[in-house]
């Protein structure tokens, strides 16, 4: 069954058939035909952002909070180049996003036409795949294929570049076909022999540790459920990466907290001393491993990943399993049960006793103050005043506040925590919160922000206002690019080169100018009131929390150091000065 329509209509029809009801975009000359077609239909809601970068982050927030593909529509040239940061962000964090970009008409491509850019050339290294549609006959199938590529295997962003003549030309629509892709066939089921080996290693382990990441979240809620069950069944401790938070309920006694540079003491020491590491859907990122040649030196490593290129990239896996986290966890659980494996209780108890000793260090403690709002205190209060709400979604910007949020806010479920992990994109949180709120209109969506990051996409306040999205922007305002300042203090002799945020706006007035509510807390005693009002108000809110300017984020593994050399607080001196090698790391 097929019918003739314009290219723009074909694109929209394909989106609808792919289950799309929302797109984030910004019009321009090359995409006017699509905007015209949008105007004539009611199936797809368009959210007009204020800069294309915001559209991609919004789509990321939408995708990560729903498990669906986020869709972006931008014009040619600057529209496409503005989307590049978001696309790279989505690539690094494996977020399924489709980005439709306008392009100059086919006959003008290569002529340096107005608003022309080599979009497929520019986005090739920052997308999972991209297409330039040069023939309307393949348009519908290209859109369908793009969705398949974006959401299957290790998800990622896909660009479809659409010349204006293709959008205007007549063509025929074809519905999605059931046939798989001719060359792209990601593997879902893990090799059962490898899974048997993994289970046997788990049964023999004395100091086992689950180390899980965003791959579990990406594999859907079922994977998180299976992980939770398996962790319970085995009695093993489990740590999560920044991207994996929520894959195991934070309230689980077996959860050790986040791992990595600003992870907990118990997580990082457990990583260092374990004899079996069961990595599911994490990629041995440098923020996690620290110094590679001293990383978990006594451990056998099981590595489950859907992307074969993640295996043996940074750390050699002893038992690699290529497959989707949900499938592999399911099979692993089956094997564990069928073989009636169980952990050696005595040895596991000894391991837990050791972990409890590390836990007793209480690595997240900080010096409380009656006069200054400690950022940790503000987040603790946010945690307590939102406790028990299962409609809470948190996004963050990038920096100290992000790490504190990861340390202090508990996530019981996957898909409720949206942060820029791989790329570390300042300005991610506000537009991402927008995308989350669009997908979950009645939920409580909070962007935990820094005053520097939030300014990077502050224009999106206008979008928030237009669509009456009641997002809450909770700014831990220390008047510095806090993480930059922290590194300058620890690594560059306290020379705070260009990290002071002079001439900040009055965030309360800024909020009011967009029709939002502005609140401010200057003393610890005011924090609760501000948070309560922020939650109670059915409007967008900027809560400007003026925090201690000098506070640093601990624990911290100094760059280039191994896990067991972490610093617990300001009084804890590094055992040895940061090496030359460490200094060059970011």
């Amino acid at each position: 069954m097929s019918q003739e329509m314009t290219g723009s209509e074909i694109v929209l029809r394909a989106l609808v058939d792919q289950g799309v009801d929302t797109i984030f975009g910004y019009p321009g000359g090359a995409v006017l035909p699509i905007y015209d077609a949008l105007h004539k239909q009611n199936s797809i809601r368009h959210i007009l952002v204020r800069q294309e970068g915001g559209a991609v982050h919004a789509a990321e927030g939408y995708a990560r909070s729903t498990g669906k593909v986020g869709v972006v529509l931008v014009t040619s040239g600057p529209g496409a180049t503005n989307a590049v940061t978001g696309l790279t962000d989505a690539l690094m964090d494996s977020v399924p996003v489709i980005c439709l970009t306008g392009q100059v008409p086919t006959h003008l491509i290569g002529n340096d036409a107005f608003q022309e850019a080599d979009t497929t050339g520019i986005t090739r290294p920052c997308t999972k795949h991209n297409y330039l549609v040069k023939d309307i006959a393949g348009l519908a199938q290209t859109v369908h294929e793009a969705f398949y590529v974006a959401r299957s295997g290790r998800p990622g962003p896909v660009v479809i570049d659409l010349p204006k003549d293709i959008l205007q030309g007549p063509g025929t629509y074809t519905p999605p076909s059931v046939n798989g892709h001719r060359s792209y066939r990601p593997r879902k089921k893990g090799d059962i022999d490898q899974i048997e080996k993994a289970a046997a290693a788990m049964a023999q382990a004395e100091r086992p540790l689950f180390y899980c990441g965003g791959g579990v979240v990406n594999a859907g809620p079922k994977a998180s459920h299976l992980l939770t069950e398996l962790v319970k069944l085995t009695g093993f401790p489990c740590t999560l990466t920044l991207m994996g938070l929520g894959a195991l309920p934070a309230s689980s006694k077996q959860f050790l907290g986040m791992v990595g540079m600003h992870g907990t003491y118990e997580s990082n020491l457990a990583m260092h001393h374990c004899d079996l590491m069961i990595n599911v859907g994490a990629r041995f990122d440098d923020r996690v491993t620290g110094k590679l040649d001293e990383f978990a030196p006594h451990s056998t490593k099981i590595h489950v990943d859907i992307d074969p290129s993640s295996i043996n990239k940074n750390v050699r896996a002893d038992i690699p399993v290529i497959g989707d986290a949900a499938h592999v966890l399911e099979d692993l659980t089956k094997v564990w049960k069928a073989r009636q494996y169980r952990a050696d209780r005595k040895k596991l108890d000894a391991w837990w006793a050791q972990i409890d000793e590390w836990r007793a260090r209480d690595c997240l403690k900080y010096k409380a103050s009656d006069t200054l709002i400690k950022p940790q205190y503000a987040l603790e209060r946010l945690r307590e005043l939102t406790r028990g709400r299962d409609d809470l979604f948190v996004t963050t910007e990038v920096g100290q506040h992000q790490m504190w949020a990861a340390q202090f806010l508990p996530f019981e479920k996957p898909n409720h925590w949206m942060t820029s992990g791989g790329l570390g994109t300042m300005g991610y949180g506000l537009p991402a919160a927008m995308g989350v709120q669009v997908a979950h209109p009645d939920a409580l969506v909070i962007d935990v922000a820094g005053e520097a990051s939030v300014l990077m996409n502050i224009q999106e306040m206008s979008t928030v206002a237009q669509y009456r999205l009641p997002v809450k922007i909770f700014i831990l305002n220390n008047e510095y690019m806090g993480m930059v300042r922290q590194w300058q203090e620890l690594l560059h002799g306290g020379r705070y080169s260009e990290s002071y945020m002079a001439s900040l706006p009055d965030f309360v007035k800024l909020a009011e100018s967009f029709g939002a509510v502005g609140l401010r807390a200057e003393k610890p005693a005011e924090v609760d009131g501000v948070i309560e009002e922020m939650i109670a108000v059915d409007k967008p809110v900027i809560a400007d929390i003026l925090v201690d300017k000098a506070e640093n984020c601990f624990p911290m593994i100094p760059s280039g150091a191994a896990h067991h050399k972490m610093l617990l607080g300001p009084d804890d001196q590094a055992a040895e000065p940061i090496s030359e090698e460490g200094m060059v790391l970011v």
Binding site: G121, R124, P125, H129, L132, D307, P308, I311
Partner: protein
């Protein structure tokens, strides 16, 4: 501990596929010793990229996995690892000279089995195929005899035996 590997990659013959492969190598800092590409099955729309690369075993494994996850890539074959294979390269050399040097150039070309594809009174164009290393030796010998210009295709390779990739 670096190794030289010959890798064959079957890809959809579509615009941008070569750029994807080359961009992967440059973006991730992998080495390319040589790279050739040509359509090998017009009906199926398949091209074959033959790439010779150098790296540690871990890097070689990464290269193969990274290539394999590109959407238009059908299959990746590490011929060096998969077993015995035949590898060859084609080179054209322009050698100019007169007198003894010209005679010597012709004599060595004969020893190497190079063909003379064109000649003028003052120059030859030699065509030589074979192992890259042999072509390298021939080029070295031609240098003092008036070597003007070299064009090389880079290595192509195919596995031995009746099985195809």
């Amino acid at each position: 501990m670096t190794e030289r590997h010959v890798i064959a990659v079957l890809v959809d013959n579509e615009p941008g596929v070569l750029a994807r492969v080359i961009g992967l190598f440059s973006g991730r800092g992998y080495n390319i010793e040589s790279l050739t590409v040509s359509e090998v099955d017009a009906e199926a729309g398949l091209s074959r990229i033959n790439v010779v690369t150098i790296g540690t075993p871990m890097i070689i494994e990464q290269i193969k996995n990274q290539l394999d996850r590109l959407v238009p890539v059908h299959s990746v074959h590490d011929l060096t690892e998969e077993g015995p294979h035949v590898e060859t390269e084609l080179a054209l050399l322009k050698v100019a000279g007169q007198g003894d040097k010209r005679v010597e150039a012709l004599r060595i070309a004969d020893i190497f089995g190079a063909k003379v594809d064109d000649t003028t009174l003052e120059s030859f164009i030699f065509r030589l195929d074979g192992q890259s290393e042999k072509i390298g030796r021939f080029i070295e010998l031609m240098k003092p005899l008036g070597l003007v210009e070299v064009a090389r295709t880079g290595a192509v390779a195919i596995s031995r035996g009746k099985e195809g990739v």
